[in-house]
Symmetry: C2
Subunit: 338 residues, 2 copies
């Protein structure tokens, strides 16, 4: 325990000093499903929570091919040039490996990853599925404690992940592409409704006019949608990661958004609501992983699975028995695995 | 307990006699979150499981407006005319009420609901969200025990629900509409990939040619997709609920499907795989509802929520404390609510 306390203090010190290696290690600690790591993660987070929150949290989504990575690279440059530090948290759909996707970090957003004022964390989809909400929230807080003032959370655009991300960020940016003819169909109406701003990407060269036409379409469509609970009126802009057009405008919109929502109090209200949602989400997460910390539960689960598969036991009755096994293990105080 | 046994026996008898009122009551029992109802539901299901399984389970999905209800009404008529009984399990997105959506049952599929050889169960979306998988599976088994040979499970087309339904049915039918210009974009590629057959609806009058064009588009698109794990090659047909065109063909396709998959053994393999998935899904469901059966947990949860909302406790630490409360309640054998 003493050594664990010592380690927690080293994590804390490293993060507050903005050490990117320590920050990356701390995020890995948050992602651990081992019980001893979890208590250390809880402890670390508690010592850092008063240093977090001083940021704008931006969710960015869009269909595959819309140019999310290049957009984020160019947008990050604008942020860095304005003297602010930026952290990018993203999910790598191609990787199922645990413990941080090194390849993903290096091959995507290569220029940005070399900049010492930027921090990029790519979580493999293997961890993210089912756990994305929980760990991304911790990562946001750790990055804030490490002094990152702009936090970008990128999602892969599956519909479900957008809803999870919307519940973690202050500002939600939807990237869309012109000219593919399916601007309004290609992405679910619900996602469009969540957007605080829609940016039509690749508005350069021959693409400028189609992008402007798509912009007009969305401006029209947004009029038909319900007003946001924040009172914010969503904007539609065109931009190009290639030429940089529109990127400073997006930065200005986000600043205007934060200023407006701070003045109405919605900014803080929304973050508090997100906190209580996190509580529920993390409790559900703990419930999903806790039973498998007990040897007896994993052993019984394997046996019951065989019985169910062979039609010798109903799935519902098997689930009931596994819950009983879990309860018995809790009562018995059986030793934990981790 | 004796009275409960007596009641279970009455349920069992009524269902095996095909009594629709008892069947409806038994489904309501399955949906109950009360502990005493749950054990009775488990008991009832166990006595009926040997009478279940003798059916074809058909999942039907499609975007709003594609004509799911009218399709199911006309399709059911074909099934009834062939001498078979049909049960339709559906979710009513407009209703949040619990205990069966009476209005929904009456207003949709009005003709079918009057037929004594048909059983329609509409679950309000309020119950279905998060619980659809669990209770729909039980409903399927009960309907089979009550002698329904064709079970239709209708989904509202949200993407997430299709995946859940695919894991419960033998045959997955996707309804699409021609002429809206968004045939391939309007529904996610993943849903198309899950379909065993795609039916282009409303192929009547001036709509026949557009429907045939859409059929050709999909036939082309399906060639580009991966082969189904079952070895089945998906079909694309046109149909009209108004004229009845194409409906006998769909019935034939489903019979051919069952025959082919029975001969390869995939039919049974798939159902066994679905059983073990149900086991996991139901265990997760029990884990999600079990803690709230304890007074102490719901009381502590409310208190912790306030602390988190007021920024006096981290969400993660609050979740950890609530898990501890749950474990203490399990150990203490505190009295259940239900």
């Amino acid at each position: 325990l003493n050594s664990s306390r010592h380690q927690t203090e080293e994590y804390r010190k490293g993060i507050l000093e903005g050490d990117r290696v320590v920050l990356a290690k701390a995020i890995t600690l948050m992602e651990s499903t081992l019980l001893r790591d979890q208590s250390q993660a809880d402890e670390l987070l508690d010592t850092l929570i008063s240093h977090s929150g001083n940021s704008i949290r931006i969710g960015i989504t869009g269909a595959p091919g819309v140019g999310k990575s290049t957009f984020i690279e160019s947008f990050a440059k604008i942020i860095l040039d304005s003297g602010k530090k930026i952290a990018v948290l993203t999910v790598d759909p191609s990787s199922q490996l645990t413990g941080g996707s090194i390849l993903g970090d290096k091959t995507r957003m290569e220029n940005l990853s070399k900049d010492p004022r930027a921090f990029i964390r790519t979580t493999p989809a293997g961890i993210a599925l089912g756990g994305v909400a929980t760990h991304t929230r911790e990562s946001i807080l750790l990055c804030e404690a490490a002094g990152y003032e702009v936090i970008v959370v990128e999602t892969v655009g599956t519909g479900q992940s957008e809803i999870a991300i919307k519940n973690m960020v202050d500002f939600f940016l939807l990237l869309m592409q012109a000219g593919s003819g399916d601007e309004l169909q290609g992405i679910k109406k619900g996602i469009v409704e969540m957007a605080d701003t829609i940016a039509i990407t690749k508005a350069d060269g021959n693409n400028i006019n189609p992008a402007r036409a798509t912009q007009a379409d969305f401006q029209h469509a947004l009029h038909l949608l319900q007003k946001q609970p924040s009172g914010w009126i969503p904007k539609v802009v065109t931009c190009s990661a290639l030429t940089g057009t529109g990127l400073p405008e997006i930065k200005n919109i986000i600043e205007e958004f934060k200023k407006q929502l701070l003045s109405t109090g919605y900014f803080e209200t929304n973050r508090q609501r997100q906190q209580t949602e996190w509580f529920t989400a993390h409790f559900n997460y703990l419930l999903s992983i806790n039973p498998r910390q007990f040897h007896e539960v994993t052993q019984t689960e394997a046996k019951l699975k065989q019985l169910v598969h062979a039609n010798n036991l109903s799935a519902r009755e098997a689930a009931r028995r596994l819950l009983d096994t879990y309860h018995a293990a809790v009562k018995g105080g059986e030793k934990f695995k981790g």
